[in-house]
Amino acid sequence: MESLGVLLLHPMNAYLEQELDRRFRLIRLWDAPPGADARAAFLRANAAAIRAVVGNAGYNADAALIDALPALEIVASFSVGIDRVDLAKCRDRGIRVTNTPDVLTDDVADLAVGLAIAALRKIPQADRYVRAGLWKAKGDYTLTTRFSGKRVAILGLGRIGLAVAKRAEAFDCSISYHSRSQKPFPNYRFFTNVVDLAANCDVLIVACLLNAETHHIVSREVIHALGPEGVLINIGRGAHVDEPELVSALLEKRLGAAGLDVFEHEPFPPEQLLGLDNVVLVPHVGSDTEETCKAMADLVLQNLEAHALNKPLLTPVI
């Protein structure tokens, strides 16, 4: 069996890279010289060998890349969200696509709740206050508001949304949600309309997948409904939220606070947020733990190995 040629799009994980190098024929896209022309030439030179692509949330097999790789058979994403994979094109070409569901559910849900507590209880802000010597100089930090018992609304009640709900329930939070269809959870209040969902909650957590329907699902209207006491937590995709609207709402305090793991143009969060006190900002770390990244990498490797051996894929999307 000829070793599978795998194009890795970005140095996303050292263990993954090392194992791809060991088990397959690894080609690193960032070895290409800088510039679009040089990159195109690099792809042409390697195209015959590349049968697999490994991408992630930020860098994935878009139409242009797929077109440049005539021998491509499989895209194995180091992520659960594959909004940056051109699925239609993959379907047309018969290219398989796998992702990494389940193994990262706990981490993402943990972070969602952690961001909600951080935003409401202003933990990073208090940490800044203490490190700046202000506790000594100015006295107690400001009063914040309780997390327990808040009305938590979840956009998308899939694996991650459900895991968030289970955690929030331990804080005596009431749970409401919106998703494409109602789910069999009678204790969770279902809303068909996202604006109504936002109007009836204290904390709105974005946990759905990104597609054409959910692009900017957190719109100006939704942000307005969430209101000056409301908190938005985004552990989905930056494009779920109308970011300029979010920024002005936070600046003008028309929205109470936000905890954001994702942004429309990563790694560039909106500059106006960087100095704000009512927001917590983390750099797309939803599944970024040693344990989970290893599990995700193993899943990518197992999917590629299954493909190479003509065995059933473990976590196919198509």
Binding site: S148, G149, P267, E290
Partner: protein
């Protein structure tokens, strides 16, 4: 004897009971107290505490039989205090901890003590979980990274550690410890604990001492009272047993941890990180912590939400009313 203290004027409608106010009162509490009682206010008197207590014996129409006492340790209700205020029959305190009240001495003198009950447990538990997630997932450190513009320059932030599945050792399984346990269970943590005696109402694994708890835990959360037995209950040996991947969270009292040993363990990489709301000499936080990215520091604020403030106000009034009505206190503190 001429009194330099401020005594509230007697309202025309009739005599109210007097209450000693030995804490700051926000508007809501002040209004609630004024509506019901004659408030004898220490902080408004400008007197020293002994002088104030002595003068209050002469308060009209009666010396105050109840006192509201601040919980930050600046006033200690000990034998000397009780000697100076023999007219007091009830002390209502408002801190989550009771290290400033000699509960045994109060009991000996028949002085009732009312504490904060469960008022703070929710917010302290929430804060403990928030600190733990922050340390493991590096939330505050990553927030700093983003705000400094490092994300486009240095790329992805270093990986954190998964919370789900961690063995969490809780020191002290009272109201706060139990609330923490309930929350972390939902995150898939394995809960185990040490307290003076095992609790037969819970199914968590019990450890008879903190050292053995630490040896089999990934996380230690300090949620016990501060007293002679628990001073430095987390010491150098406990930190060593916890190990290089271990994390400590303290929402109890700074004195529960040997702070110098903690700093040394963090500097030497002998434990992985710490989330601290309390310190040995507040508000002096050792500067050694400020250069550490694996610690999260908050300003003894685990209880400070608007909700607990108003809950506490209701509780204090409730306890005072019960006392003056001769009814059982709402949140009595009994000697051990």
């Amino acid at each position: 004897m001429a009194s330099a203290i401020a005594v509230a004027t007697v309202p025309p409608s009739g005599a109210k009971h007097s209450v000693l106010l030995l804490r700051r009162a926000n508007d809501r509490l002040a209004a609630a107290l004024r509506a019901r009682y004659l408030v004898v206010n220490f902080y408004a008197s400008g007197a020293s505490l002994p002088a104030f207590l002595a003068a209050s014996a002469a308060a009209e129409p009666e010396p105050p039989r109840a006192a509201l006492v601040v919980g930050d340790g600046t006033i200690r209700v000990n034998a000397a205090f009780l000697d100076a205020a023999p007219y007091l029959r009830c002390v209502v305190t408002t801190a989550a901890g009771l290290d400033h009240i000699d509960v045994a001495e109060c009991a000996r003198r028949g002085v009732l003590v009312a504490g904060a009950g469960q008022t703070f447990s929710t917010d302290v538990a929430d804060h403990a979980v928030g600190l733990l997630i922050d340390v493991l997932r590096r939330v505050s450190a990553a927030d700093r990274y983003v705000r400094r513009g490092m994300w486009p320059v240095q790329g992805d932030y270093p990986l954190g550690s998964k919370l789900s599945g961690k063995r969490v050792g809780i020191i002290g399984l009272g109201s706060i410890g139990s609330s923490i346990a309930k929350r972390l269970k939902a995150f898939g943590c394995v809960i185990q604990y040490h307290s003076r005696r095992p609790k037969d109402t819970v199914s968590f694994r019990y450890f008879p001492d903190v050292l053995s708890l630490a040896a089999e835990s990934d996380v230690l959360i300090v949620a016990c009272a501060l007293n002679n037995q628990t001073q430095h209950i987390v010491n150098k040996d406990v930190l060593e047993a916890l190990g290089k991947d271990g994390v400590v969270v303290n929402i109890a009292r700074g004195g529960n941890i040997d702070e110098a040993a903690l700093i040394s363990a963090l500097k030497g990489g002998e434990i992985a990180g710490a989330g601290l709301d309390v310190f040995e000499k507040e508000p002096d936080v050792p500067a050694e912590f400020f250069s550490m990215d694996n610690v999260v520091l908050t300003a003894h604020e685990a209880v400070f939400t608007t909700e607990s403030g108003s809950d506490l106000c209701d509780l204090m009034i409730g306890n005072l009313e019960a006392f003056f009505d001769g009814k059982p206190l709402v949140s009595p503190v009994l000697p051990n």
